[in-house]
């Protein structure tokens, strides 16, 4: 009798404990390739930091999953005149320290970005003044009409911070203090290891599903994949192509591939012969077997690019681009006066994928008689020397973080942006300049799309770049993870994610 009673009690207790732990703290562990640099949204503008910050801090408006602008801390907005935008703010929003969120915080944050200056302050270059109309209304006055302003305000670097916490924390803001309005509250950061966040129980919107979020930095790709495999982490970002092949089909693991806003390209120094001849640039575009790069180097984690903008960017042209046609390339080279080719250099930094691309293209170009020497240059030197135009050809990438064509074209192809600002091919075309300027000020989306379509057609025709690929990324997760949707900009919202 006693024995039975004892067993029943034990059973009841066990069920009770199991019930408690199932309903208890749910910790979601996410791994990315590096540690954040700072949690201050107005500090270093790097992806690993942004991926943590977007859980803690919020912006006035957001890029939705389809990259449309959707409300954030601003519930609505209106363009008053060409240079004035008015935002109605969400009421009843409080910062994690209990302070209410008001228009004064918006003014303070944007002024702080410009004063620091934040590395991403250029996103607010067009903002002249921030005016507090009343507690929940704020106006942003621009120095000149700037159509992509909303896309710029949606960038995580323009997040709203709390003045009191910034001033009280001083130099500790971003390392041991991070006070925002977002769905997760900062708890702890063990440098080089992980950041711990807990659910914001007072969140103004839909509260986060997971109670605790641990974001780890695991630099070695294979080890990050192994942690996912062994259940050490629930989600692992950026699964390497090699690990993707291995993990594909592994029981318990789901792989999620998504398109990003990144492109890779080969830039020509159009100031130097023979790249000053458009036929030579076109010839090289025809000579490169880009599909082979997609298949063998990226093993499908990329798509061949027909033009300068990745397909997800608003207004990106669905262009055919240049097909692989070595015969046509030879003809063009002969027309340009180089029937036997020439010798040149191709610069790359020590990024393994770029070095492999360089080697494959070296072989492709040898086919049409161009003798290419591949130069591998350390990153810091690479940026400096391609900025000053010492190169012939170079491989580089660009991320159109705002998903707006202005960001993806102006810095790269406008003649005022030579060198460091982004136009490392030193390309100049009056009509392209004119179109890129028009695109900045044109408010009507239809006209704006037409302007950018023409600009892209000209750029493809004139080929200051060899257009290579738009990249994709793969996230891996355990099969009990629900609610994860990848964001094309790479900083994924984890508030909707939970474990079954």
């Amino acid at each position: 009798m006693f024995k039975k009673l004892f067993l029943v009690t034990l059973l009841v207790l066990a069920v009770g404990i199991a019930g408690v732990s199932a309903a208890g703290t749910q910790t979601l562990i996410v791994a990315q390739g590096a540690d954040p640099v700072t949690l201050d949204p107005h500090g270093e503008n790097d992806q690993p930091s942004a991926r943590v910050r977007v859980q803690i801090f919020e912006t006035l408006v957001n890029h939705g999953y389809d990259l449309e602008i959707v409300p954030g801390l601003a519930k609505s907005w209106e363009q008053i005149d060409e240079v004035t935008w008015e935002f109605k703010l969400q009421e009843n929003v409080t910062f994690h320290n209990g302070d209410p969120f008001t228009a004064a915080d918006v003014k303070y944050s944007f002024e702080r970005i410009k004063e620091l200056p934040s590395p991403a302050a250029f996103l607010l270059d067009s903002v002249q003044e921030v005016v507090v109309v009343d507690q929940y209304t704020v106006r942003i006055v621009l120095s000149e009409p700037f159509a992509p302003i909303l896309a710029h305000l949606a960038h995580p670097s323009n997040a709203i911070v709390n003045r009191r916490s910034v001033e009280e924390a001083g130099d500790d803001f971003g390392s041991s203090v991070a006070v925002g309005t977002g769905p997760f509250v900062f708890e702890d950061w063990v440098a080089g290891s992980h950041v711990t966040l807990v659910r914001n129980e007072e969140y103004w919107g839909e509260p986060a599903k997971a109670e605790k979020l641990v974001i780890r930095g695991i630099p070695e790709n294979t080890v990050r994949a192994i942690e996912l495999e062994t259940g050490g982490v629930d989600i692992a970002y950026n699964i390497d192509p090699m690990d993707e092949l291995r993990l594909d089909g592994t029981p318990g693991i789901v792989l999620d591939k998504y398109e990003t806003l990144s492109t890779s390209y080969i830039g020509f120094n159009v100031n130097k012969a023979p790249f000053d001849d458009v036929r030579v640039r076109q010839a090289i575009n025809y000579a490169l077997d880009v599909e082979a790069v997609v298949d063998y180097i990226y093993t499908g984690q990329a798509v061949a690019a027909g033009g300068p903008l990745p397909p997800l960017v608003w207004g990106a042209l669905d262009a055919e681009g240049y097909e692989y046609n070595p015969e046509k390339a030879k003809e063009l080279l002969a027309e340009a006066g180089y029937p036997d080719g020439f010798s040149t250099t191709l610069w790359t930094n020590d990024n393994p994928q770029r070095m492999m691309i360089a080697e494959m293209f070296q072989a492709d170009l040898a086919e049409i008689g161009i003798d290419v020497e591949v130069l591998v240059v350390p990153w810091a030197t690479y940026l400096e020397e391609t900025g000053s135009g010492k190169h012939d050809m170079f491989i580089l990438g660009w991320v159109t973080v705002t998903a707006d064509p202005d960001y993806g074209l102006y810095a790269l192809f406008h003649s005022s942006q030579f060198g460091d600002p982004g136009n490392r091919s030193f390309y100049a075309n009056e009509r392209v300049d004119e179109l890129l300027e028009l695109g900045r000020t044109e408010g009507d989306p239809e006209k704006r799309a037409a302007i950018y379509a023409e600009a892209q057609e000209l750029i493809i025709e004139e080929a200051p770049w060899a257009f290579l690929i738009a990249t994709m990324e793969v996230n891996g997760m355990r099969d009990n993870v629900e609610g994860f949707v990848a964001h094309p900009a790479g900083h994924h919202d984890l508030s909707t994610v939970y474990k079954k």
């Binding site: 270093e44 390392s175 192994i226 810091a380 460091d420």
Partner: protein
Amino acid sequence: MWRYIIRRLLSLIPVIIGISLFVFLLMHLTPGDPAQLMLGEGAPAHQLEALRESMGLNKPWYVQYLNWLKNAVKLDLGRSLRSGKAVSAEIMDRLPATAELAAAAVAIAILLGVPVGVLSASRPNSTFDNVAMVGALSGVGMPAFWQGIMLILVFSVSLQWLPSSGRLGGWQYLVLPAITLGTGATASIARLTRSAMLDVLQQDYVRTARAKGLRPFIVVYWHALRNALIPVVTMIGLQFGGLMSGAVLTETIFAWPGIGRMLVEAINNKDFPLVQGTIMTFALTYALVNLGVDLMYAVLDPRLRSTYE
């Protein structure tokens, strides 16, 4: 003895200043602009200029160096260009993890390397000796990145005994990185102990000890080992100094939050103050470990004590 220690510590000052100047020049003479690296590929010129100004990079290099030195004397190593955190705080955040890893690796190296070396020497050319020395040779030659991944595959993926990365509390996290980091040192120490012991075991006093009828165990571990240890202690000191700074690969593979990984990132980003501060820490650690080794000689060999007066 104390006078000796103080003299040694004072002699460190010019060494440290020399190293700091050398590192500073090296960082500034290689191309690459930290402001450009922070702002990325498409930074507007006016903003690059503003950032350079705010980071003090527009001043001549010697002014920048003297400013750094002036503050360093007051123990203020400046702030990291990227994170804005105090360099001393960055170092203190990371140093314990590296010290723990290096200490564990050296402990493994001593506990395994010394006995293996002694046993090999006491039975030269036996099967044990041959196996141990081939093992030691491959231990010295095995690259950390390969060995680390193999250990993870066996102990984390297949056997599921140990976690594969991180330092999230608990000794389990330390095991694989410590073995990976300690293998090279274990092998070197085993080889050195063996050759030192072989040398000592030929000495007259060992023959005398044996002739007196002492047990072989006492002869080997008390009379011989103590004398063979002097080169081994030197090696352990050097290894520890090296492990403190050379753990970069192991730290990267196992996502260990140590200082080596931080230094490599800082160099890539041209984060001058952080590089400078970290190298100073390494230099100081190395020098202090060496001083410790020198003092150990006096403990091991009474004849040397007079030289420390």
